[in-house]
């Protein structure tokens, strides 16, 4: 890695760069209606502050991405946890994944119901079981065994998500188009002071999806991937398309071959669009602290924190900065 400033410590087993730590967050790719823009941007900014504080305090990238995503799940403005879109039956089924770049350990849940923080459950799958993914009733059983409180479905459903569900029940509705970004999947990637990367992604899935539909989010290599040898990615966009090209893993293959975070991300998104006509967005980070927030859709709310500066944006090409304090 050449071409940027770094400080060498006398202990050469640890090359510290002043680019660490970093956390990057997204709140979904697609079209966000005007009245919800402010909610989306302030949501990702608030969440990135949380992640940043954890990293600055010496916390791990895994802690940072999980706490960040928990906050976004609790925020009804996003399609995760509270605020999740509804399936065709008007019910909430959620998916989530976490991955640890140091060990490649991963935890995921799919089609889980009645819990406030699927990302927390995903992490427990990783930490407390010998498995990597639990689904549906099995995931709920595990939650109970971990003492995770079951919440009434109503507490996860907002007026907004119910309204959109009703609208999309009409036979001529187009949920895919209608969905794009109006309420987004959430996710985060981070690199901590030790150079460990991690990712986390959480969602309520696709508007009016079939019962039991699993999208890209809990699918390792698609909704997210993290490897200390290359970097971490969290994705958003049209789930089925992201799965077909295993977008997160594809981007990291490009990085393994020497591409920058921006180029690798753009290449992955371009492949998705040219081969399958799908749109999406990603947040990507490498172990040295280079990061990117890229999207092929019109918008993606995103925020990053590095060196006490918060970066954020919404439309293509936007890049605002302000002091994080």
């Amino acid at each position: 890695m050449f071409g940027f400033t770094r400080y060498y410590l006398s202990d050469t087993s640890c090359q510290m760069t002043d680019l660490l730590p970093v956390v990057v967050v997204h709140g979904g790719a697609g079209f966000i209606p005007k009245e919800r823009l402010q909610l989306s941007i302030s949501g990702v900014c608030a969440a990135v502050r949380t992640g940043h504080a954890i990293l600055k305090g010496g916390g791990s990238s895994m802690d940072a991405v999980v706490e960040t995503v928990i906050q976004l799940e609790n925020n009804p403005a996003f399609n995760a946890g509270c605020g999740s879109v509804l399936n065709v039956k008007g019910e909430v089924e959620m998916d989530a994944i976490v991955m640890d770049g140091k060990t490649l350990a991963s935890g995921a849940v799919s089609a889980v119901r009645n819990i406030a923080n699927p990302i927390q459950l995903a992490r427990l799958v990783m930490d407390k079981t010998s498995h990597a993914c639990l689904t549906a009733e099995g995931a709920n059983q595990f939650a109970r065994s971990m003492g995770i409180e079951e919440v009434p479905q109503e507490s996860l459903i907002t007026e907004y998500s119910r309204m959109r569900w009703r609208k999309n029940l009409a036979p001529d509705a187009n949920p895919v188009e209608s969905q794009m970004g109006k309420a987004g999947t959430v996710g985060a990637v981070a690199v901590d002071l030790e150079g460990n990367v991690a990712c986390a992604t959480s969602t309520g899935g696709m508007l009016n999806k079939m019962e039991g539909r699993v999208g890209d989010t809990p699918i390792i290599g698609s909704g997210g991937y993290a490897d200390n040898q290359s970097g971490a990615v969290s994705t958003t966009g049209h789930g089925e398309t992201i799965m077909k090209i295993t977008l997160a893993r594809l981007i990291l293959f490009h990085m393994e071959q020497g591409r920058s975070v921006e180029d690798a991300s753009d290449l992955g998104l371009a492949c998705m669009q040219s081969r399958l006509g799908g749109l999406g967005g990603v947040v990507t980070v490498d172990p040295q602290g280079h990061w990117a927030a890229r999207f092929s859709s019109k918008q993606m709310s995103w925020a990053a924190a590095q060196r006490d500066i918060m970066h954020y944006g919404l439309y293509t090409g936007e890049h605002f900065t302000q002091s994080i304090n």
């Binding site: 490649l104 991963s106 990597a132 639990l134 099995g138 019962e211 539909r213 699918i219 390792i220 789930g239």
Partner: protein
């Protein structure tokens, strides 16, 4: 374009008493799948037929012959992928379906989704007239006895020897005369798994992947390890970089062993007709047919 079909019946320390039946099983399935290709059938049709034959054979842990989860129930996973369009269908944790690979194909062809799980997958099966079969028809006496035995083991002991676990997931890859590749993988998972545990088999890029640009792969072995390295997609990324099917498979399996201490196997076919069956476990039941040679 010369058609090729490769099948596997699981990578693990297959005990001698099951060895012959395993080899016979994969040979039969390979021939059945190949006859589809010979008639000019598609790679997708061929892999489905081959995997159905393996699902129907109680010697393998897929469909009939599936292992039981912690609650003594059967939960099945499967995936099928079309290398021409990247269209994919997958089901996870579906109960009491005789041929999960066909249900996965229905997800691919009859819905706008790629994957359905659990109850939702069963509801979908019902809606298209695929009936459920009683657990007893899918589970063998042998399996029930083994399950009873294992219930009493401490999980810690078993985990140390992940190569010793029964990993007889089944799968197939094919190249048809039109130059299209496809893959399919199907499993009952691991004995005594937690309810709702999903392994690598139905996970795109892990249990299988197919892309006309690089090839088709189906994997078997320690599921959680395969997931961590997205094994199928990893193998194809090496083929994309110019490695041969054998090198790509060996390097990837070695990487999996080094990085996450997992063992397994993979079958691969490239768009030019080269194929490989590679494994780092003690044994793997596999069979391949090309140009009428088994």
């Amino acid at each position: 374009m010369s058609a090729v079909l490769v099948v596997h019946g699981g990578a693990w320390a297959i005990p001698d008493e099951l060895a012959k039946a395993s080899v016979d099983g994969v040979k039969t399935a390979a021939c059945e799948g190949f006859s589809v290709l010979k008639r000019g059938g598609s790679a997708v049709d061929a892999v489905e037929v081959a995997v159905r034959a393996l699902e129907d054979n109680t010697v393998f842990d897929a469909g009939h012959g599936a292992v039981l989860n912690k609650d003594g129930e059967v939960e099945l996973d499967a995936i099928i992928m079309d290398g021409r369009t990247l269209a994919t269908g997958a089901v996870s944790s579906v109960k009491n379906i005789a041929n999960p690979v066909s249900l996965a194909r229905a997800v691919m062809e009859k819905t706008s989704h790629v994957m359905l799980t659990s109850q939702g997958a069963n509801l979908f099966a019902e809606s298209i007239g695929i009936s459920t079969v009683p657990t007893e028809t899918l589970v063998t006496e042998y399996e029930r006895r083994e399950w009873e035995k294992h219930k009493n083991y401490m999980t810690g002991v078993i985990e140390d020897f992940n190569t010793q676990w029964a990993h007889d997931t089944v799968g197939a890859v094919a190249l048809d005369s039109a130059g299209n590749v496809a893959c399919a993988t199907s499993t009952g998972g691991i004995r005594n798994k937690m309810v709702g545990r999903v392994g690598d088999s139905p996970i795109i890029g892990c249990g299988g992947y197919a892309d006309n640009f690089s090839g088709a792969v189906s994997c078997t072995g320690h599921g959680e390890s395969i997931l961590k390295v997205t094994l199928a997609r990893l193998i194809l990324s090496k083929i994309e970089q110019g490695k041969s099917v054998t090198e790509a498979s060996q390097m990837s399996l070695q990487h999996m062993g080094n990085r996450v201490k997992g063992a397994g196997g993979a079958i691969v076919v490239s768009p030019s007709g080269h194929w490989a069956a590679t494994f780092t476990t003690e044994r793997m039941a596999w069979a391949a047919v090309e140009q009428d040679v088994l």
